[in-house]
Subunit: 358 residues, 2 copies
């Protein structure tokens, strides 16, 4: 049983705190441990550090090793450049396969939050029990608590006839991010779950699915696999990686699987993808006007503002629904409703020549 | 002819740029010269530096001398503490009277902006011609260009029968800051002028008016006057000052004068009291969405924002009508409509124990 933590994201929605040189997963957004460290902590007692792999970009290798000193050097798998999650899990599978051709892979994002770690471990163990036959991809679906339009959904089918205390279901379909009306209808039915991006599969099954649905990726991974452990390993990853298709596990693999290949376990363990500054506000104490302040300052006639300015004294007067983030070199002021679009800010800054602060 | 520049204000509406240790009049808000330096520049050729007095608080003496090296040391008149403008002009009068008992005093605020300096000098010269008889206080009234509720107004009476090219009028009354409806009615009549806070009078007339209308101030000034030039001078100012009445020239003197004691000269020389961050926006180039940026950055779906952050890269997304000011230690985000209330912010910060950043 191997854990693969995907730590290659850019975290642009957390600009200006998240920067290309140190994105969201390497930041301490919730408490003193970084998101990556929390992801590792969560596996304690479930998967050994020696069996845990971190997939990241080359430029983050040092950050990973600094933050997770317990991880063996060779377990940090470096992509030459970001090519979305299908390539990332495929690359990890290529490495794990050499060690254990029928190894079980638990794929976990490095930048999500989970409140109930015991329940998380119970769910993963149940997923492992179903995945270990090598017939099924097992996903973890989160019971929705709001009509979220920012997530993909998994439509849950019939329960499998088994005796476990944690029920496992067939899946009917994966659905992309819905509009609000659709999200509301999902919420009102009880068989739509948020796609958490956590997957459990045997490495041989994953590689078979890649061969079937993503032949280009399959060819690239094959060249890499041939050279793992040789002098040419790093060189081949670089040669191959740039041309790999940019596709997610969801689009590239899950949606193309037949219904009876994918199982889902509904979970309620206080999951949050901490997808934006707004999400972060959910984990901070707010004042009576629903303002959240990381730092010092005063709010006057201010409502529903989220201020992150640990090194400043901030004062607001007569404003509402703002995200205000101060970093050493940059300042963001954004409507809460637009929190998902902070990527546009990063893009605009790039175009305007501010590469040094993104 | 003596100029008295009142440079004792706290400039709280320009927090966080304006600080108690260096308020608005000592800042370069408009170009490279500070507001105080611009006030001095404006007198060039009209009043000699040797005849120009600066009234300020003790703690600003060094700032004044640094910024105006041409001013003789003894012309910086220091109040022990701020006691509003009646005390400030009275104190200046006490010093000038010793030198020239019938001297003409031109009183000017240190923190206003005037675009047309030639016209300003013509108006002051006309005021001096009327004031030199020692019978009249002459004020400068600004022709209003908007229904401003933040200024006092002067109701202009009949023109004096004289041959000057710049007409001089009797005044009917001084009016305090009006509500919007009243301000609109003032704007629609043609005999209401903004009170600019500029006054011209003979020192003997001013001291007579203080004796008549502000007996407490009169007594205090008399003790100070007795000790000017003696060893006890500074000590007496300190003893007396704290107990002086806190009252403005407008409330304490002008409103109590009889109509035929006060004249007004209507002026149009591009005057602005630069009373708030909003006012400052009028002097900066704006983008097509009426945003003003001092500093660097990008505006996305942003309208009518005024950003002052010379040391930051600022990005805004989906916001409107905000004042955003970044300083070394503080950050202000304020609705433009509330710009006049930034004093409340300073007060709240004081109460919350942030004395070091106000």
């Amino acid at each position: 049983m191997y854990a693969v933590i995907l730590a290659g994201g850019t975290g642009e929605r957390f600009w200006p705190l998240s920067r290309r040189e140190k994105p969201k997963q390497f930041l301490s957004l919730l408490g003193s441990r970084t998101m990556l460290q929390l992801s590792m902590d969560r596996l304690s007692g479930l998967v050994n550090p020696a069996d845990t792999y971190i997939v990241t970009e080359e430029k983050y290798r040092e950050l990973v090793l600094q933050q997770l000193p317990e991880i063996p050097l060779e377990n940090v798998i470096c992509e030459y450049c970001g090519r979305d999650t299908a390539a990332a899990v495929g690359l990890a599978a290529a490495y794990i396969q050499r060690r254990d051709p029928e190894g079980l892979m638990v794929v976990l994002p490095a930048d999500h939050f989970i409140a109930d770690i015991d329940e998380f471990q119970r769910i993963i163990q149940a997923a492992v029990r179903s995945a270990c036959y090598g017939e099924w991809v097992v996903t973890v679906g989160i019971r929705p608590s709001r009509p979220e339009t920012g997530y993909g959904y998994i439509q849950q089918g019939e329960a499998l006839d088994n005796m476990e205390d944690i029920p496992v279901y067939n899946t009917i379909a994966f659905h992309e991010k819905p509009d609000l009306k659709t999200a509301l209808s999902y919420l009102n039915q009880d068989n739509y779950l948020w796609n958490s991006g956590m997957f459990v599969w045997r490495v041989d099954l994953l590689l078979r699915l890649i061969a079937q649905h993503l032949p280009e990726l399959n060819r690239g991974l094959a060249s890499i696999a041939e050279n793992i452990g040789t002098e040419r390993e790093e060189e081949v990853v670089r040669e191959v990686y740039e041309d790999l298709p940019r596709v997610s596990v969801d689009y590239g693999i899950m949606e193309k699987c037949s219904q009876n290949q994918v199982l889902v376990i509904p979970a309620s363990f206080g999951w949050d993808d901490v997808g934006s500054w707004t999400a972060l506000g959910r984990y901070r104490e707010s004042d009576q006007d629903s303002n959240v302040l990381e730092g010092q300052g005063v709010f006057i006639d201010t409502r529903e503002c989220m201020v992150y300015a640990p090194h400043k004294v901030v004062a607001t007067l007569g404003v509402e629904g703002l995200i205000i983030v101060d970093s050493q070199e940059s300042l963001l002021v954004c409507s809460k409703e637009r929190a998902q679009e902070i990527k546009k800010v990063v893009e605009a800054l790039k175009e305007a020549g501010y590469q040094n602060i993104i």
